[in-house]
């Protein structure tokens, strides 16, 4: 019996180390060739490491979570045959992983059955070869191509392929992160001069663009950090966990707009100009009083729906740094003006970056509105862990059939999404119809029934 050390092979992607994420074997296990030993994770993928031989695991080289350098010992196996009996002696290269290379000739005699899948033909191909029938996760690298004469020397760049510029210009461009291929040079033979680069740096790529169409191959890498990262995580969480159902309904807002115009005629500090949103907020408060299950937070990990009595309406707001959702707290306790004042205050604070944590958390339902950019219909993403979101689309005058003729009407769509796990389509439709009813008959917003 002999010992064989299995090292972490090159798992590709030019990486020098990988994180061990799973052991498929433990000490004492008897394994066969191609059985999986372990899984390692690089920053791109998880790679399974198979065993190249049969044997018994006698030693394990790392704990789960350890970072293991490529080429360091992963496991030790007790294998049949003499030490280092892993390749026939016909191979000119010394056995790599044999702990005692000196005993190679002996090994050759005793291990005729050792794997002979590295015949000389491979020496002509420097690239690692994969053995097709086994289709292993890791291509077995071909090593020791010492013999092969350099059949294909390193490819030379064709002359003229590189941008024509002096070394100083090239260095300056590299330091400024400019690909000189973007520039056209004004020097002799199209040489890019210091002046060309300076002008490019000053004007930017737009001014440099030559007439006509051109291909661009630049790739700009932008790190997703901070608020953008938070938004990305939140959206992914919401979309991956919540099965959305979205209902789009059209609302005739002509009477509401008439009322709003009247109210906005005499603005005062305590009665600011109203947008459509305070009316929608009031409508939502009324509708929720009939369907309180929509004003809730669904803790899907615990399997509990927290139904809130207070209605805290989040307002999706575009800020210079990205999407934020400041919250109008206790909308149920605010009248139309109160809603309007608080709405203006919190969205303003979100935009200028002075909103407190408290003003940005605690919503129980959310409104998203893009105003004039609102489109015909949208598919709003629910603000996890809420269960409903109301999206406002743009208002426009559309012809409406009143039974005898077409009349111009101010029409606006609401696109509302619901968490279908806890809100049935019927309930969602009832809620949307209730909003429609309230908004189309604005007087009902102010009458307690």
């Amino acid at each position: 019996m002999a010992e064989r050390i299995i090292k972490l092979p090159d798992v590709g992607e030019g990486i020098a180390e990988a994180e061990l994420v799973e052991w498929h074997v433990k000490i004492g296990d008897i394994i066969r060739e191609d059985d999986l030993l372990a899984a390692v994770m690089t920053d791109k993928a998880t790679v399974e490491i198979p065993s190249p031989v049969d044997g018994e695991v006698t030693w394990i080289g790392a704990e789960i979570g350890d970072t293991v350098a490529i080429g360091s010992a992963l496991v030790k196996l007790k294998v049949a045959g003499a030490a280092g009996a892993e390749e026939p002696a016909a191979e000119p290269e010394a056995p790599k992983e044999a702990p005692k290379p000196a005993s190679k000739p002996v090994a050759a005699a005793e291990a005729p059955a050792a794997k002979a899948e590295a015949p000389k033909t491979e020496a002509q191909k420097p690239a690692p070869t994969v053995e097709p029938p086994k289709a292993m996760t890791v291509p077995k690298p071909t090593r020791g191509v010492v013999q092969a004469t350099a059949q294909d020397p390193a490819p030379r760049r064709a002359p003229g392929e590189k941008p024509l510029a002096s070394p100083a210009v090239r260095l300056k461009a590299r330091e400024a992160g400019i690909d000189l291929r973007q520039l056209s040079g004004t020097g002799p033979a199209g040489r890019i001069l210091h002046e060309d680069l300076d002008a490019f740096l000053l004007r930017g790529p737009e001014a440099e663009r030559a007439p006509g169409l051109s291909q661009k191959s630049a790739v700009t890498d932008i790190k997703v950090v901070g608020l953008r990262r938070k938004i990305a995580e939140k959206m992914a969480l919401s979309k991956s966990r919540i099965p959305h159902i979205t209902i789009v309904e059209e609302i005739n807002v002509t009477p509401l707009e008439d009322l709003r115009a009247t109210l906005n005629k005499k603005p005062a500090p305590e009665r600011p100009k109203l947008t459509l949103l305070p009316f929608l907020m009031r409508a939502m408060v009324k509708a929720i009083s009939e369907q309180p299950n929509l004003n809730a937070l669904y803790d899907d990990d615990a399997g509990v729906i927290h139904q809130h009595a207070g209605i805290h309406i989040g307002i999706a707001t575009q800020t210079p740094t990205g999407l934020m959702v400041p919250v109008v707290k206790h909308a149920e306790a605010r009248d139309i003006w109160g809603c309007g004042i608080e709405l203006n205050r919190i969205t303003e604070r979100a935009r200028d970056g002075t909103a407190t944590r408290d003003e940005l958390t605690g919503s129980t339902i959310t409104i998203t509105s893009l105003g004039a950019l609102g489109g015909i219909a949208t598919t709003p993403v629910i603000n996890h862990p809420e269960v409903a979101i109301v999206g406002v689309n743009k208002m426009m005058i559309r012809p409406v059939w009143d039974g005898t003729t077409f009349v111009p009407r101010k029409m606006m769509n609401l696109s509302s999404s619901f968490d279908h796990r806890v809100v049935d389509g019927w309930d969602a439709a009832v809620f949307v119809q209730r909003l429609k009813e309230l908004l189309e008959n604005p007087a009902t917003l102010f009458i307690d029934v």
Binding site: A16, E17, P126, A150, D152, P159, P188, A189
Partner: protein, 465 residues
Amino acid sequence: MTEITCKLLVIGAGPGGYVCAIRAGQLGLDTVIVESTKLGGSCLNVGCIPSKAMIHVAEEFEKAAHAAAGKTPFGLTASAPKLDLKQAVAWKDGIVQRLNNGVAALLRKSKVKIVHGRARFRDGKTVIVETETGPRTIKAETIVIATGSAPVELPFLPFGGNVISSTGALALTEVPKRLAVVGGGYIGLELGTAFAKLGTKVTVVEAQASILPLYDAELTTPVAKHLASLGVEVLLGAKARGMTPKGDAVLIETAAGEEKRIEADQVLVTVGRAPVTNGLGLEELVLDMDGRFIRIGERCETSMRGIHAIGDVTGEPMLAHRAMAQGEMVAEIAAGLPRAWDKRCIPAVCFTDPEIVSVGPSPEEASKAGLEIKTGKFPFAANGRAMTRHGEQGFVRIVAQAQTQLVLGIQAVGQGVSELSSTFGLAIEMGATLEDIAGTIHAHPTLGEAVQEAALMALGHAIHI
């Protein structure tokens, strides 16, 4: 066992490695360099520098011999020169030692730690160095493989006894009476020429159809002519087969397929150089290879992150100045600076007599690449300085793009033209056009005027021809 942790570890202190380490030190990186023999690598110890010293000795000897033989056209005579080759070798060794010390001092000045011993990879981040005082572990964030190359041995002409490599030829203490040179590349011809000038009967055996196969016939013809005038016999298309049992002659098969004996006291085998990767533990890493060489990208990065390779170990052209430029670049990359290999040319110089310089593509290579070209060639026979130096062989040749006049390549063959390599390189690297060179005042009387005239000739209005 002591363990060192550093930012940058350079394996090999040849021209690539030591330049890399010095530059890294300048940039404030915590740098360690490992060398198993002497600082300076092949270039400084057994290559460029010592061979040029011996070539110089041979040239001086030849001049004196000419004077003694009354061969100078200007009436100089002297008594027959004598050479104490031991002293010449000692003089050469002195230069090498001064440069060794110089490299050590420069490394120290840049605060680079020097570790003497053989390095072996343990894994992608760790190297074990066998030092005189025992093994030392060095862990580094970035590792640069700069292990260079070594002369290739022929299996039927193994080094030993009177079969020597270039290293052995530079250490001979007696001028051999008869020298057989197997391999007619630049190393064999440089040394063969030097020994021929010192009075050795030299025979060159080259398997290919021409000497210096890397250069075109126009460039090598003056060299071939001069070899003939030195009495060097060049057998082309001939293959060495081995030594006679007595070891007093090389057996060859001539181009015609006949067996032939070449009597020789020393047999110099210069059939190329192979990368040094043995014993480095590369098998622990499984780097992508390119034939026998380590495959690298435009940042000298290997297939493994954090491991770079520079110099001869990465392939042709195996030239010290290429390694130096790569070393400098890799140090700057390790320091986080944005760098990539963007050189337009790597000059190649051959110190035969006359010397050859080649920068950029030859006319044939440029045409093959699909470029429309124009060329200009100015002979030194029409250059005043060449005449007054008594060295009129050769020419300067310029290759330019036909429409734009952009200079693509410049080659020259002639006495002392190696020093023109910098102006050739500068012209191409700067993107000079024929008018740029033609419009630059070239001092009179110098060999450099031939460069300007070659440019003028390509433009169609050379003055002095």
